[in-house]
């Protein structure tokens, strides 16, 4: 281990980076920050759309549930990289209202918009499956009981089923968020300067491959740990009474 540390040159992190007035340490930290911003914003989209699609798939109406199933199949069976290029190169040409607005954005915001939409809608398909299985695990009884109390379907989902289902699927949602952070590195392929892209360019600009990749990898590890810590806290504070994992 001392051998490795002796070979690595950490002073490179303090040398000036392509960003004006900054060094490579803040350059990578800035990349990590963009990774987090991209992931959190995509998560918001994924959570909202994923919940809607997941609910659709459990509705009694067979047409709506088929629409939900189609969404999931399409987004799960095309590689994420291809979807990203669809959002970046295809959608702006095909969608009339979106195209002109998109093409006037600076390239950084074009990349950011495409990556956010792509990761959000891709992850939504996976969240939909988890919301569906969470709702399924509740059984028919709660749904019927809600209706018997005079609630309409919207209220049954909003007040009875979803609040419980979300709490059941927190662990799988956490691992989905960790997946999303890892998947966000795909945005580097369209040039978005997140963490993977920045460690790659640092490796090439400074020819310090090991230092750059090691720092990038450790930063991904650090983000993972923070997310795990936060989700444990969330899981603890929302435990359902009466289940095996509950507080006594």
């Amino acid at each position: 281990m001392t051998f490795v540390v002796a070979v690595l040159d950490f002073s490179v992190f303090l040398s000036p980076s392509p960003e004006s007035g900054a060094n490579y340490l803040t350059y990578l930290l800035g990349g990590a920050l963009w990774t987090v911003i991209l992931s959190v914003l995509s998560w918001v989209i994924a959570f909202i759309i994923g919940s809607m699609v997941g609910v659709l798939r459990t509705l009694p109406s067979s047409i709506l549930s088929k629409v939900g199933a189609c969404y999931v199949e399409i987004f799960r069976n095309i590689p994420l990289l291809v979807q990203l290029f669809v959002w970046f190169n295809v959608v702006p040409d095909l969608v009339p209202g979106f195209g002109p607005w998109f093409k006037h954005l600076p390239s950084f915001w074009q990349q950011f918009t495409s990556a956010t939409l792509c990761l959000g809608l891709f992850t939504a398909a996976r969240i939909a499956e988890q919301v569906r299985s969470g709702l399924r695990s509740l059984g028919k009884g709660q749904f019927s009981a809600g209706l018997a109390l005079g609630l309409n379907i919207k209220q049954v989902y909003g007040l009875v089923l979803l609040p419980v289902a979300y709490r059941i699927i927190i662990p799988t949602l956490t691992s989905e968020f960790l997946n999303l952070i890892k998947n966000s590195a795909v945005a580097s392929t369209i040039g978005f300067v997140e963490l993977a892209r920045r460690s790659d360019s640092m490796a090439e600009l400074k020819s310090t491959v090991f230092e750059a990749l090691l720092a990038g990898t450790l930063l991904y590890g650090a983000i993972n740990l923070v997310v795990l810590f936060l989700s444990r806290a969330l899981e603890h504070s929302t435990k359902l009474p009466g289940l095996v994992g509950a507080k006594k």
């Binding site: 069976n77 590689p79 998947n183 490796a203 990749l213 990898t217 991904y220 993972n224």
Partner: protein, 225 residues
């Protein structure tokens, strides 16, 4: 309204097919090596030696907590070129293909290891005890009793992982390898038909993966023990 022009695609089909062969090679190598290595890691992880078990767990955690893009960069920039230069100083191997093979094999091994570990753990203890009572050694119990049943039980999961791997292999774009999507993107850039080539590539992936996952679902119904 956008005017589609699909005319450049037929002439590019032979190139796209070459790219698809590269994609299939990467997928196949990663499946075979990944399952072999994954089985070893899973067995080591469940072994009684705490140091070996911790090493196997560390391998799995490490590969599962970093993005595939970073793994590809590690293999491309830091790991594969020096080893190849040291082992075969004079040969002119296709370095990019070798990087893709090794990166995907080592990366997928960590995912396969977890599937296989769960499969092994799903076999009941009674079977192990019965085999031991018959006088089998630990190795024989694993090889003749546990693994055959575990593999049968996890076949659908292994195949689903293979479909995910087939999709993920498109990420070799990062190291500049011309797989199916890489070729499609190159043709898109050189002919100017971005929209058509990207949509075509997406449609091919969609049809292939949908067909494969339908087959896996049918299989799943048939091999339930």
């Amino acid at each position: 309204m956008y005017a589609f022009d699909w005319s450049s695609i037929p002439a590019s089909l032979p190139f796209l097919w070459q790219g698809m062969l590269v994609t299939l090679q990467i997928t196949l190598v990663a499946i075979v090596v990944g399952i072999l290595l994954g089985t070893i890691i899973a067995v080591v992880r469940l072994s009684k030696n705490p140091i070996l078990s911790a090493l196997a767990a560390a391998y799995v955690t490490l590969f599962r907590s970093i993005p595939l893009v970073m793994v590809l960069l590690w293999f491309q920039l830091a790991l594969v070129p020096p080893v190849v230069r040291w082992l075969f100083p004079k040969s002119n191997l296709d370095l990019n293909l070798l990087i893709a093979f090794t990166a995907f094999a080592f990366f997928e091994a960590s995912y396969y290891a977890e599937i296989i570990r769960a499969g092994i753990q799903s076999i009941s203890k009674g079977q192990v005890m019965a085999a031991q009572a018959l006088g089998m050694t630990d190795g024989a119990v694993m090889r003749l009793v546990i693994l055959p049943q575990a593999f049968r039980r996890m076949t659908p999961l292994l195949l689903t992982q293979a479909i995910i791997l087939f999709q993920d292999s498109s990420l070799v774009y990062v190291i500049g390898l011309a797989d199916f999507f890489g070729v499609a993107k190159n043709r898109a850039d050189s002919t100017g038909s971005q929209v058509e080539f990207i949509l075509f590539a997406g449609a091919v992936y969609l049809i292939l993966c949908l067909t494969l996952s339908t087959i896996v679902r049918q299989l799943q119904k048939r091999i339930v023990i």
